[in-house]
C-alpha cells in the first residue's frame, strides 16, 4: 500500500479523521501561543540552525571529544555502525549483567533499530514506560507520532485496551483513571527492572554528558532504580558546549507541545555510585546523509514533532500512513534519504505548502527537501512509464499552441460528457469552461 491508499483508509471514517485533525491542530495552537511568548523566537531558530550547521560540519571532531570526555567520567561509550550492531551491543551489556527485565523511556532510535523485538526474542522483557508508548506497546501497534505516540487513539479505545490487558473496570475511559491504572502497572515494572534504556535529546561534547527531556519522569525513575543505564543516540544528537543547550531546550518543548520546558530535563554526566552507564552512538545510515550536500540538513532535526502537528496532510492521514518509523514531513525526508525508490510516494504526499519549513525550530527547509527528492525520484527513473508519458504528452501540448488550443476546444466541446466521469476525484466537479476564453475576448478587443 502506498501513502494514498493508507490515507484513504484513514479518511473513510470522516468523523475520526476530523477528530485527529482537530487534536493536532490544538497542539499547533498551543505551540503558537508558546512561541509567541518569546519575542526573540526567530533569533533562537537562527541560532539553533547555526549551531547545528557548525556541529554537523565538524561532527567527527565533536564525536571524538564527546567520547573522550564521557569516558573520563566513567561512562562506557560504544559506537555502532548500524541497527544490528546497536542491538547486539545493547544485548551484550544486558546479558553481562544478567538483566531479564528492562524499562525503556522514549527513544525513536530504538524504534528505528527495532530493539524491542530483538531483545524480546532473546528472552528479555522490555517495557516502554512513556505512557503513549506503553499504550502502543500493549496494542502491538507502533507510534504514530514521535512526541505523541498514541495520538491516533481515542480514550475509549485505550479504556478497552486496558480492560483487556490490565484488567481495569469495564467501560471507564476517564483519562485520570486510565493514567493511574497504567501508573500502577508500570510501578511494578520499574521496581523489578534490572536495566534501564533511555534515548538522548542532546549530547554535550564539551562535558561528555547527555540530556534527556521527558514529561513523565519515567527516564529518571528507570535510571535511578536499575543498576545499568544504557542511553542510545544517533550521531547527530551532539551539541558543542553546555552553553548551547539553552537555545535548544527553549525551542524544543515550546515547539513540541507548547510547554515552556519539559517537566524533566535531566543531565546524566556520570554513572551513579556502584552503577554502570553506557552510551551507544549509532550511525545507521546517517553518515550517508551527511555526505549529501543537498540533504544533510535533515540531520539538524531535534525531533520536536511540530512539522507533523502543522502538516495538513499528516493531520488528515495519520502517522501510520507513512511507511517510515518517523512520519510527517521530516519522516518523509528521512525515508527518502534512506530509500527513495521504495518511499518515493512520501515525497509526493505533500502540497509543498511550506508550513513545516516555517515551523521547524532548526530551520530545515523541509518542503524544499521534498521538492528536490521528487526531482531525484524522476531522474533516477523511478517514476512509472505511464505517468512519465502523461507528463511528456501534457508538456508537448502546452508547448505547441496549435495542440494547446485544440485540446482546450476539445475540453469545451466534450465537457458535458467529461463532467460525468469524476476525472478530478469523486468529491470535485470538473471545472466548467467559460463561454469565451480570455484569449477569445482579448482577440475581439484588439
Amino acid at each position: 500500500m502506498n501513502h494514498r491508499e493508507r490515507a484513504r483508509e484513514f479518511l473513510a471514517d470522516r468523523e475520526y479523521a476530523k477528530w485527529h485533525d482537530e487534536a493536532l491542530w490544538f497542539v499547533r495552537m498551543k505551540r503558537d501561543a508558546a512561541a509567541k511568548s518569546v519575542k526573540e523566537w526567530e533569533d533562537l531558530r537562527e541560532a539553533a540552525e547555526k549551531i547545528k550547521e557548525h556541529t554537523i560540519e565538524h561532527l567527527g571532531f565533536y564525536l571524538r571529544e564527546f567520547a573522550k570526555n564521557a569516558s573520563k567520567k566513567g561512562i562506557k561509550v560504544h559506537f555502532a555502525k548500524d541497527a544490528k550492531e546497536h542491538n547486539e551491543i545493547v544485548y551484550s551489556i544486558l546479558k553481562k549483567h544478567r538483566v531479564t527485565k528492562v524499562v525503556k523511556s522514549k527513544s525513536m532510535l530504538t524504534e528505528e533499530c527495532e530493539l524491542n523485538p530483538f531483545l524480546e526474542s532473546r528472552g528479555i522483557e522490555v517495557t516502554d514506560t512513556d505512557l503513549g508508548e506503553r499504550i502502543v506497546q500493549l496494542r502491538g501497534d507502533r507510534p504514530s507520532h514521535i512526541v505523541l505516540p498514541a495520538i491516533h487513539l481515542k480514550k475509549e479505545q485505550i479504556g478497552k485496551l486496558f480492560e483487556e490487558k490490565l484488567h481495569i473496570e469495564k467501560g471507564n475511559s476517564d483519562p485520570l483513571y486510565l493514567t493511574n491504572e497504567a501508573r500502577k502497572d508500570l510501578r511494578d515494572k520499574f521496581l523489578k527492572a534490572q536495566g534501564a534504556i533511555t534515548g538522548v535529546n542532546f549530547a554535550v561534547s564539551e562535558t561528555g554528558g547527555i540530556v534527556v527531556c521527558t514529561n513523565e519522569g519515567n527516564a529518571d525513575l528507570g535510571t535511578s532504580l536499575a543498576k545499568v543505564h544504557i542511553a542510545c543516540m544517533g550521531i547527530e544528537k551532539l551539541i558543542p558546549k553546555l552553553k548551547h543547550l539553552g537555545v535548544f531546550t527553549r525551542l524544543l518543548a515550546r515547539n513540541a507541545t507548547g510547554q515552556p520546558i519539559t517537566s524533566y530535563t535531566t543531565h546524566f554526566n556520570s554513572p551513579s555510585k556502584d552503577k554502570e552507564m553506557h552510551i551507544v552512538i549509532v550511525d545507521n545510515g546517517r553518515s550517508e546523509i551527511l555526505k549529501n550536500k543537498e540533504h544533510k540538513k535533515a540531520l539538524f532535526c531535534i525531533r520536536c514533532g511540530a512539522c507533523m502537528n502543522t502538516c495538513p496532510i499528516y493531520r488528515r492521514s495519520g502517522g501510520h500512513s507513512y511507511s517510515y518509523v518517523i512520519p510527517g514531513p521530516i519522516g518523509s525526508v528521512l525515508a527518502n534519504a534512506r530509500d527513495l525508490k521504495n518511499n518515493g510516494d512520501l515525497a509526493f504526499a505533500s502540497t509543498l505548502c511550506g508550513s513545516c519549513t516555517n515551523i521547524c525550530p532548526v530551520k530545515i527547509d523541509l518542503h524544499h527537501q521534498l521538492f528536490s527528492y521528487r526531482k531525484e525520484y524522476v531522474q533516477r527513473g523511478y517514476m512509472g512509464f505511464k505517468k512519465r508519458l502523461s507528463y511528456k504528452t501534457a508538456s508537448f501540448i502546452l508547448r505547441n499552441p496549435f495542440f494547446f488550443l485544440a485540446s482546450m476546444k476539445g475540453y469545451k466541446a466534450f465537457y458535458p460528457f467529461l463532467s460525468k466521469m469524476n476525472l478530478w476525484g469523486e468529491g470535485r466537479a470538473l471545472p466548467k469552461p467559460a463561454k469565451k476564453s480570455f484569449r477569445e475576448i482579448y482577440k475581439e478587443m484588439e
Binding site: 494514498r4 495538513p312 502546452l398 480570455f438
Partner: protein, 250 residues
Amino acid sequence: MKRVGLFIPCYIDVFYPNAALSTLKILKDLGYEVDYPLNQSCCGQPFLNSGVFSEAKGLAEKFIEIFKDFDYVIAPSASCVATVRYRYRELLKPSKELEKIIANTYEICEFLHDVVKLKELRVSFPHRVGFHQSCHGLRELELGVGSELVKPQYSKVKYLLNLVKDIEIVDLKRPDECCGFGGTFSINEPEISIAMGRDRIEDHKKAGAEYIVGYDMSCLMHMEAIAKRENEDIKFLHVVEILAGADDES
C-alpha cells in the same frame, strides 16, 4: 511608458477569463501598455512540482522567449510567479535574460502593492469575504507572514482589500491553512486533497463569508469544484476582480 507582458496561466484563460480581464483593466487604467502574447500557455510549474524537470525546461525556455522584452511580466497567479522567481535558476542556464525576467515578474497584487504603491481605490464591494492565503504566495513570495512565524503579521493583499469600500473581511479559525490543491497532488492524492478543501470551505462558511477570495485562482478552482459537488452556497473571486470593481454576476 512601461510595457507589461500579461501572463495568464492556461486554466485562467479557459475557466476564469474575468480574473485575466480584471488584471488587464487595472494595469491599463494605471497607464501601462499591456500586451498579452498569444503563443503563451504554461510556466512549467506542474512539471517542476512533479519532479519532471526535463518536461518543464522547454516551457520555461518558451516563457523567457515570449516575455524577455517586456519591462514587467505580471500574472494573476502567485504560484506561477513563485515558479519563475525561485525555480527557473535551477532549471535554466544562467543568463542576463533570465535574471531580468526573474527580477521583473510579479503577481498582480504584489505589483500593485510594491511597485504601483496603490494608496486608494474607488471601488466598493459590500460583501463579507473570506480571504484565502494560498501557500506559495504566502510562504514563497511572502505576500504575507505565515502564522507559524513570530513576526508582526502583515498581508500585502489584505492591505489592498482594505482599500475597497464597504468590504468586510471575516476572521477565519485557520488563517493560512493549505486548501489541498497542490497541483498534481490533487490528482495523486484526491481523498486528502478534497478533505482539505472541504475543511477550508467550512471554515470560511462558519465565519460568515459570502465569497472566498484569493490571489491564486488554482486553489479557488479546487475549492469551487468541491463546493459545487456539495451544493455549498459560496462564491469565489480572484482578489483582482474585486480591485477592478467586480459586479455580482461575474
